[in-house]
Symmetry: C2
Subunit: 159 residues, 2 copies
């Protein structure tokens, strides 16, 4: 616990692979996404945890939630781009500020590493997440909130 009464956020290392795999499995399962088994995910998780471009943040003793950040060089400027790939808190620990604590740690981590921007793809009905991101200053309008709506388009190349 820190002085806010919330569990501290810590950066995951390869020893956390199993716990991360379990959270990811639960995440996919909750939202009816197809998911590999926990053992398969555990093997996959080790690689990004060892690489330099991915940071996973964990919160709580379970752990009870995670944020996954990807970093890369910006192509036309000198800084880094940061992408929030995942944000998840287990159902039993929701509405307790854990998501916000993870996001604040994620922003701190991104700024410390020299990221100029953070981007997130969010589904329209995901009101809780959208409210959190907007509360932290994110906008789905370009130009820092003054411009038009920004959509995320995707194509599955395996089809």
């Amino acid at each position: 616990m820190n002085r806010t009464g919330l569990p501290s956020v810590r950066r995951a290392n390869p020893d956390d692979a199993r716990a991360i795999a379990q959270l990811l499995y639960d995440f996919n399962h909750e939202f009816d996404e197809p998911t590999p088994r926990v053992e398969t995910l555990e093997q996959r998780v080790v690689h990004p945890l060892r690489g330099g471009d991915t940071v996973v943040l964990l919160i709580g003793a379970g752990p009870d939630g995670l944020a996954a950040l990807r970093f890369r060089d910006a192509i036309w400027s000198c800084g880094l781009e940061c992408y929030l790939a995942e944000l998840y808190v287990i159902p039993a620990r929701r509405r307790n500020g854990l998501g916000r604590a993870l996001m604040e740690a994620a922003l701190h981590q991104a700024r410390n590493r020299g990221a100029d921007t953070m981007e997130i793809g969010v589904d329209e009905p995901d009101d809780v997440a959208r409210h959190l991101y907007e509360n932290l200053g994110f906008s789905n309008r370009s130009g820092g909130g003054e411009g038009p709506l920004m959509y995320l388009y995707e194509l599955d190349l395996r089809n």
Copy 2:
């Protein structure tokens, strides 16, 4: 020219840095975005062209357009993620299929490198680009077009 009557698409190399910088400058200028000088952009462009995670495709003799692709390892699967960072055709050459030719080459490039997905951030009023992406199978709804709208959220961390 290839058999479609369109100029061929080719992959840029560091010798194209000046031409790419000019296209990027024109792009920013046209859309009233702040932009560094062409000389500054030229210096910055060389680095991503040498790195392994960025591919710039060029079309036309000018060249008259570009597509910039970023690649990275997916974190929870074995493939790559591809992000279309830029797509630009100079005003004088629009409505001639150059954007589509660039996109088809981009999809070919992404599949060849083993990307599982391609993502694009698009402003809502950008009808021409959205129509092109949708025509190629992209959707701004998750689940391959069946699910909810996907927004792109962004925060400038330098403020």
